[in-house]
Symmetry: C2
Subunit: 212 residues, 2 copies
Amino acid sequence: MEQIPEPAKERLLYLMRVLEKSGGKPLTSGELETLTGWSSCTIRKDISFLGADCGSPEGANKKVGTSCGYKPERLIPAIKAALGLDRRRRFCVVGLGRLGSAYLNFRAFELGEFELAAGFDSNVNRVEILKSPVPLYPAYKINEVVGRFAIEIALLCVPGEAAQGSAEKLAAAGIRGILNFAPVVLSLPPEIAVRNVYVTDELRALAVKISF
Amino acid sequence: MEQIPEPAKERLLYLMRVLEKSGGKPLTSGELETLTGWSSCTIRKDISFLGADCGSPEGANKKVGTSCGYKPERLIPAIKAALGLDRRRRFCVVGLGRLGSAYLNFRAFELGEFELAAGFDSNVNRVEILKSPVPLYPAYKINEVVGRFAIEIALLCVPGEAAQGSAEKLAAAGIRGILNFAPVVLSLPPEIAVRNVYVTDELRALAVKISF
């Protein structure tokens, strides 16, 4: 398959979300334009990366003046396959304070695309008494457990001062991506993908929106 | 002041973060180019929106062949002022389960730009027993308390099925922005700014990065 450029990947990911929320009804590229804010030309170009099956559905009915739109049930699986989201990935939660234990119990993970496989905390006592839907381990077992269960992604929920150390342990254990909730910038080898969820940054972005 | 376009605002916000992490040392537009991934031309254009004081510092020393760079101590306050981040804003946490109570105690809020003013939960018992650095109220007091303390932003941490109802209560109480952690799309009047923090979307974005 043709290599998809990064910005197109990001748009396809967002488009998939829009389609998932469309309730299954077909959407024309004009409707997608309104929902996404991108030009229908950009949308058609992005979808063209997915292969022939999903392309330009409007053309087919041009003669009768109707437009049948893109069918979510065809487009969603095609996007998932193209973006590598068509197989289940295991993840773990590292740091089981309030935030980490919240994510241990987050129901949205039941969607099936991601499987919570384990939780870790440096406090052995906490690991023993915390109620959890998945097995919990002391942090010194990260290396063993990440490898054994082929865990690919970690939600890093430790305090800021512990984040770099925990991230390095995860990297050494073979983790491939870290979703970092600690308010620090992690310094890791380039092959480890990192996304930061900084609440202060989100608050700032909101504040900018309401300032004008 | 000239109206700053939305994409420039987003870049300036990010630039402010980069400068805050630079440890106070001046950065040339070339260094900013490396740190942000934007062209130095874009960076200079964005900074030009801030007014004369911050513009093109390299020009001054061209003759001696050195480049003194942008001074964070001048640029950061200028960006804050231009983006409306130069006054403290009050926010509240709505929904005091694990996630909400984690954010009640989040130390990064001590930065000073944002002031946590109150927490709310529909469970009166939880409101009474939870330890918190700020006053907690039953949810039926949202209207009164948001008005009384001039709270502008809410962190919405309620379960998905309660999110729309809580958001409407907050909107009616005069809230201006909502940071939504519930995995649902809120439907609100356009004057209410919303930012969504969807962990599943973040996991997906990570999965896309590690697929290739």
